[in-house]
Symmetry: C2
Subunit: 531 residues, 2 copies
């Protein structure tokens, strides 16, 4: 049995003393795929850290134009190998080639890479700040060590440890990446790494700018995120795994950025339901079924006030849920995890209106499942009833009255998003005014009359939120320039001689158009020396 090579110190080579091996499974066929990948041991991890640390020093000296070119070459390489990437990702994840992989996620990924390239080239992300009177200058700078990126199972390109959003942000900010593949799609990750290695050669960046390990035993994951040579970690995945890694990273004083679970509550105010209830049911059920519900922004909980308009919504939802064909799930563990979550929900008072069982057949599937629970039960068991069921599952909470709806909002943990649907006129304004201040501090992104499943790659995006949706409420993993600032140190230069300053802090604007805060004024101009 020959194991696929890992990418370490710029070379594809056999894993050294791997501690195991694994293969991916085609979840649509329930069939193991032929390639076998190593579970790396301490030697691979250590070698990647040492090489990444050396690359960090080189990368800190690299021109932002070269870094940008690398990211653009990654995007071009992905386009050139799109057919392979779609074939392999479809087989490893069960996600449909069209439209999802080819027309949605792949272009999103190349768009992210190109936006990151633009951000790197513009340099404005580093918030160069110049105090001419004191000759004190600061900017955000690369971390000085590689960034470990651990991607999730649900986006084989867009959040992949190689070529995904965290990768693009870390590299654009001038840091090498040590990617740990998600074991659900190692072949996709390998292909992306092949693209990246070619792009490194084409751009002239050090080859150890990217290193790839397919899998690590849990204890080595902890060593990695806490290692003295590491710059920071970006993790997208389950709360259990994320919090465990956080503890190790925190203890070592290493930044770790986590995007964990979120149930993304959607509040339907009574006026909106009276006005357009059936349309909202269609909108919600369609959002719930995107990616078979396996989105971090999947709307997992809806909240309504008891009344006939809410019964209409629920009935329409049940009809839509029962009518749809459940999508293939990402792997064999997903339906098991859904079933476990449903047990928790049901044990705390939720009733299943439709669905509730794994679907037998050729692929891993779970019936689209709609649950209902009273506001009283939610108030009594807010923790268990916020259990995430990662898949096509939605729980409607029916508050006894408007006051209880607000009380329910106050019980939500930190979430990535929260939506409020309101009457298009003023019917719901009074309740909105009560609800919004309670919901707002609990979510990263607040939406009006909109489902949360679209995560635009925009400077104004917050794909983050309060704990435990993430580990720090001040950052976002999507959106440039903000996502880059996670992978940076604030460094200040005090009376440093002009020729010794980094280009971003010299008097001359290095690009002619970089935004800098000069004596309190954002400007694209050169510094005019103070009197």
């Amino acid at each position: 049995m020959s194991l696929c090579p890992v990418l370490i110190a710029g070379e594809w080579r056999a894993a050294k003393n791997p501690v195991g091996s694994f293969a991916a499974e085609d979840p649509a066929q329930k069939k193991m795929l032929p390639e076998t990948y190593p579970v790396s041991g301490a030697e691979d991890a250590e070698a990647a850290l040492v090489a990444g640390s050396a690359a960090a020093l080189e990368l800190a000296k690299a021109s932002p134009d070269v870094i940008a070119r690398f990211l653009e070459l990654c995007a071009e390489g992905i386009e050139a190998r799109a057919n392979d990437l779609i074939r392999v990702a479809a087989s490893e994840t069960g996600l449909p080639a069209e439209p999802r992989l080819k027309s949605v996620e792949l272009p999103r990924t190349t768009n992210q890479l190109r936006q990151a390239a633009k951000g790197a080239r513009e340099r404005s992300w580093c918030r160069a700040t110049i105090d001419t009177k004191l000759n004190l200058r600061s900017r955000l700078a690369p971390l000085g060590g590689p960034v470990a990126v651990l991607g999730p199972n649900n986006f084989p390109y867009a959040f992949n440890g190689v070529a995904g959003g965290d990768f693009a942000a870390a590299v654009a900010a001038g840091n090498p990446v040590i990617a740990k593949a998600n074991p659900g799609h190692p072949g996709t990750t390998r292909l992306l790494a092949e693209v990246a290695i070619e792009a490194l050669a084409g751009s002239g960046l050090p080859r150890a700018t990217l290193q790839l390990i397919y899998h690590l035993p849990e204890e080595l994951g902890h060593v990695l995120v806490a290692h003295p040579l590491l710059g920071a970690t970006a993790f997208t995945g389950s709360r259990r795994a994320g919090l465990a890694l956080k503890e190790s990273a925190d203890r070592a004083g290493k930044p770790i950025y986590l995007e964990m679970s979120s149930v993304n509550p959607v509040f339907f105010l009574p006026g909106a339901l009276r006005e357009r209830g059936p349309a909202l049911a269609a909108e919600l059920s369609s959002s719930c079924s995107l990616g078979a519900g396996q989105f971090c922004t999947n709307p997992g909980i809806g909240a309504v006030v008891a009344g006939p308009e809410s019964e209409v919504l629920i009935a329409e939802l049940a009809r839509a849920f029962a009518g749809g064909t459940p999508g293939v799930l990402l792997g064999r563990n997903v339906p098991k995890a859904i079933a476990r979550s449903l047990e928790v929900l049901v044990a705390h008072g939720a009733g299943i209106l439709c669905g509730g069982k794994e679907v037998d057949g050729s692929g891993y599937r779970f019936e689209s499942t709609l649950l209902r629970v009273s506001g009283d039960a939610f108030v009594a068991h807010p923790g268990p009833l916020q259990t995430e069921a990662f898949g096509p599952v939605h729980l409607v909470v029916v508050a006894r009255d408007a006051a209880q709806l607000v009380a329910i909002a106050a019980l939500f943990e930190g979430n990535l998003t929260g939506s409020i649907y309101a009457h298009s006129g003023t019917d719901d304004d009074a309740l909105y005014t009560e609800l919004e201040p309670v919901l707002r501090p609990r979510v990263g992104r607040l939406l009006n009359d909109k489902m949360p499943t679209g995560v635009a790659v925009s400077a104004a995006m917050s794909h983050g939120g309060p704990y435990p949706a993430t580990g720090h409420p001040g950052f976002t993993s999507v959106g440039i320039p903000a996502s880059l600032t996670r992978f940076a140190r604030l460094e200040s230069y005090d009376a440093v001689r002009p020729a010794r300053l980094p280009a971003e802090l010299r008097d001359a604007n290095p690009t002619g158009s970089m935004w800098r805060l000069i004596d309190g004024v954002w400007s694209e101009r050169d510094v005019v020396a103070a009197g």
Copy 2:
């Protein structure tokens, strides 16, 4: 024995079931001061959290102008009560009334408050970002819970939990503060709180915007920083206490900003020493003696290359150290801690050139102490030889050659600052080029030909640095607007109706001059609706 009241829920009231009491000592007289303060128990902490949490909701709705006015009234109140403040702080800290307290620290503190007020009023700190095409808008917003501020012993005004830099930043960002006094200067803190309570009344902010507890048992400190109602913590103090609190806050997912120990290495390159060695010795010894060495940016370690010019520096330093009068230290524990640190340094090869003993007499004093150690010893024991001796102590590391000087730089832990003195011409350029990339990622602020002890309140300041100087390398505790961003969440508004947006994100610029990033362009203008 009557205990001074605590300030909770807007009222000065007796501590409820305090777990103990304490008094401050006049370190210049070695005499206990008459006032007795409570060590608060769980009831006070819980009451402060509940009231602070309610105040957070109110404060989030307050106008930035009102918040700014409060901070300005604090500054005015401090000036009005300057005589009391100086008398009490001098008695509690032993710091000289002139110039330190009256002409340096008090004006610095009022300046910080006024800069924070200006920052709050301008609103640019919140990085409002608007994507007109997607109608997606984001800003940094208050945390939704109070900020616990734990101040250090060495700056009774400027870093005080009440009216100091962290307080000003937290309030300017829209958060209430729960201050825990430093037990070294409870009376000063109480006076500052009296000023602040008057300022709250004058500005109309909720009275629970500030609450004051004098002391907490260690276990309750852990409860406080991890409490669900808390927004975040700002701590300045020892590494031991800071890391212990960090562990509790991290585990609860609560942001904590720490400014801990730092030895602030100063590298004297050979050309600089040949050119102006005696002047540099004078500059260094004067910087070392500021505040009797009790500055977080005190230069604790100097590094030189072996050679006659370095011997001149060391000889001049020894003369200056031996000639000065040691200042009064902040308290009885300080000389003990210095002695313990010296033991560690000496045990690992450092030799004491002058000083080394506590001074007997009326006040707590320690001889200005100069130590010397070989580069070889430093390379062998880099950890112990970086032990901070908080006081008038300086260790010169003599590298065998230039290469070892660079190797020494590579062994430094994260520090607030690092300085390099070089020949005014080009004599040291080659070595600077070797040294800088190694030192740069290890320090928050890099200085050229300058001592680190001045920490300007400037937008371009980084008073932060890599772990373990702080807990996160991306933030600064001094400098506006950056220091405010620690106490904020990133929140995004997705398709939210215009009238429901916070003022900072509406089309109209709320001040006419607030900086916002609109479609990638920093602008002070209104949003022009996209086509």
